[in-house]
């Protein structure tokens, strides 16, 4: 149960990453690999600030802002310098690796002693529940873990609702249109390039925030923690779409969150059943490959079958 609770919490933390990827991948149809760097950026900056005794909320806000700066740079490379979107992401991600090492001063910062959101959650759950362990459907669960889960759930809900609201404002609809049909929205007076920059900034801000939460939850920030995170986010978004469909905006955002949680739970189970942790990335990559290719194959197969059947006398 503790394992499941942990998977659920990490899944929710990474759903901020999934929502970020939703913006870049689904709104703008860019696989933005900047996130591999910006998630670490968020974690690194947050960790350094927490060790210096900065308030965790402020530290996370700083992480978010740092992420928006990273996204802005990627966006400017694409929009103003006309560099291929994938290459722009790779350049910024690579540069961020050095930036992150500079921020941290070394490759790993432990957070076990620093005051952070998990200590807050600990304190609140103690005050609220009065006991250290709670009985949930027959399992004994640490109140601290429940507190963290509740806190993360609160943040994710808030961000999800805010993102949904934003994408329905005048600015937000223009941003979606900029991804959907640039020619049309340009003819309606929107500077598509600026909106693309804004979208990538927002996307990477959320990703960095996700990194900040992740560092606090796992108790350390590490220079390598971002590797493969973009694929992770893509997997979440794709799973989410198969869960909820992509017809409505609200469902699509909810899907990204649910996809992230479900994917983390699946991974936790697979690891429990003996999947070698070293194989995790290749399994994730294969999964995304399958998810990208299968719908086309199934579509072709169905069409062929329909044609074959209608051709029968």
């Amino acid at each position: 149960m503790t394992l499941m609770l942990g998977a659920l919490t990490i899944g929710l933390i990474l759903s901020l990453l999934a929502m970020g990827i939703f913006i870049s991948f689904r709104v703008f149809e860019i696989a933005d690999i900047t996130v591999d760097g910006s998630i670490t950026l968020g974690a690194a900056l947050c960790a350094v600030l927490l060790v210096r005794g900065v308030n965790p909320a402020l530290a996370m806000a700083a992480s978010f802002l740092a992420g928006t700066v990273a996204g802005t740079i990627t966006g400017v490379l694409q929009a103003r310098f006309k560099i291929n979107p994938l290459l722009s992401g790779i350049l910024v991600m690579t540069a961020l690796y050095s930036v992150n090492l500079h921020i941290m001063g070394r490759s790993n910062i432990p957070l076990l002693t620093a005051e952070n959101v998990t200590t807050w959650a600990d304190r609140w759950s103690q005050a609220l529940l009065g006991v250290a362990d709670v009985n949930v459907f027959g399992w004994m669960v640490a109140g601290r873990d429940l507190g963290i889960l509740a806190l993360v759930l609160g943040i994710v809900t808030m961000v999800g609702v805010a993102l949904y609201g934003f994408l329905r404002t005048e600015v937000g609809t223009a941003m979606r249109a900029a991804g959907d049909n640039p020619q049309m929205i340009r003819a309606l007076g929107v500077d598509v390039e600026s909106y693309r920059i804004l979208g990538l900034a927002l996307s990477n801000g959320l990703v960095a925030w996700s990194g900040a939460l992740l560092a606090q939850y796992q108790g350390f920030a590490d220079a390598q923690m971002g590797i493969g995170m973009v694929v992770w986010g893509l997997a979440s978004v794709i799973i989410g779409e198969s869960l909820t469909g992509s017809r409505s905006l609200g469902l699509a955002i909810y899907g990204a969150i649910a996809g992230s949680v479900l994917f983390r739970l699946l991974v936790a189970m697979a690891l429990r059943w003996g999947l070698n942790p070293n194989d995790l990335k290749i399994v994730t990559a294969l999964f995304v490959f399958g998810a990208l290719v299968l719908p086309t194959w199934v579509g072709t197969w169905r069409r062929n079958r329909t044609i074959a059947e209608t051709a029968k006398p």
């Binding site: 404002t169 005048e170 609809t173 979606r176 049909n181 003819a187 309606l188 007076g189």
Partner: protein, 270 residues
Amino acid sequence: MLTIRDIHKTFNAGTVNEVRALQGVSLHVPEGGFVVVLGGNGSGKSTLQNAVAGSFFVDGGSIQIAGEDVTRWPEHRRARLIGRVFQNPFSGTAPTMSIAENFALATRRGRRRRIRWAISRSVRDELRERVRGLRMGLEDRLDSAIGSLSGGQRQALTLLMATWLKPALLLLDEHTAALDPKSAEQVIRLTGEIVGGLGLTTVMVTHSMQQAVNLGDRVVMMHKGRIAYSFSGAEKQRLRVDDLLGRFEELRRREMLDESTAALLRESYV
């Protein structure tokens, strides 16, 4: 009002693929005027329209819309003055977004977009009324994705979007060329209603001579990046499809003569 003065545009200048698409085009459309631009493939008619819309900057000359010199304005800035309908019905609308959202975007054409709900109740009510006017039964489907509609429906909606805020200039780029005859007729009728009703200054590009004869108060015929013929006033009123065909034939003959002369010269001297 639109004033174009001696604009030039050469694509891929200095390469083997050099195309001199516009070679000194001047055109004046007075307030409320409706000009139909006619021409074959590669005559520069669409290039002319794209130059006005700001898809690229011209190499020389100037463009004025409603008294403002827009020659160096980027496309999105010119959108404040220009309403536009494209040839491809898919170009004018955002397919995954709803009809209502598409219109919400159009209600802010060329204006500042803010952090406030895109679709307000008043916009919705007005939208329902105006869409009902199309008589396509779309007023009850305002929340459907626009991508689920037919080309004709999308083109009619695009026309309505482009003119939601009265534009200083309406650009129609072969906006019925990709439609079936029935939808095309419907969209043309709607075009006449809207342009006439609002008294819009309009430039319509087409390759349909029938449309050129029926619509507008002036016909301009383009050939090889230049305006070859222009008919206005009483001459335009008397214009028949046969007259236009005759002019095309004339252009074609002149061009063949040029080519055969060139061939003759080549044979003799090269």
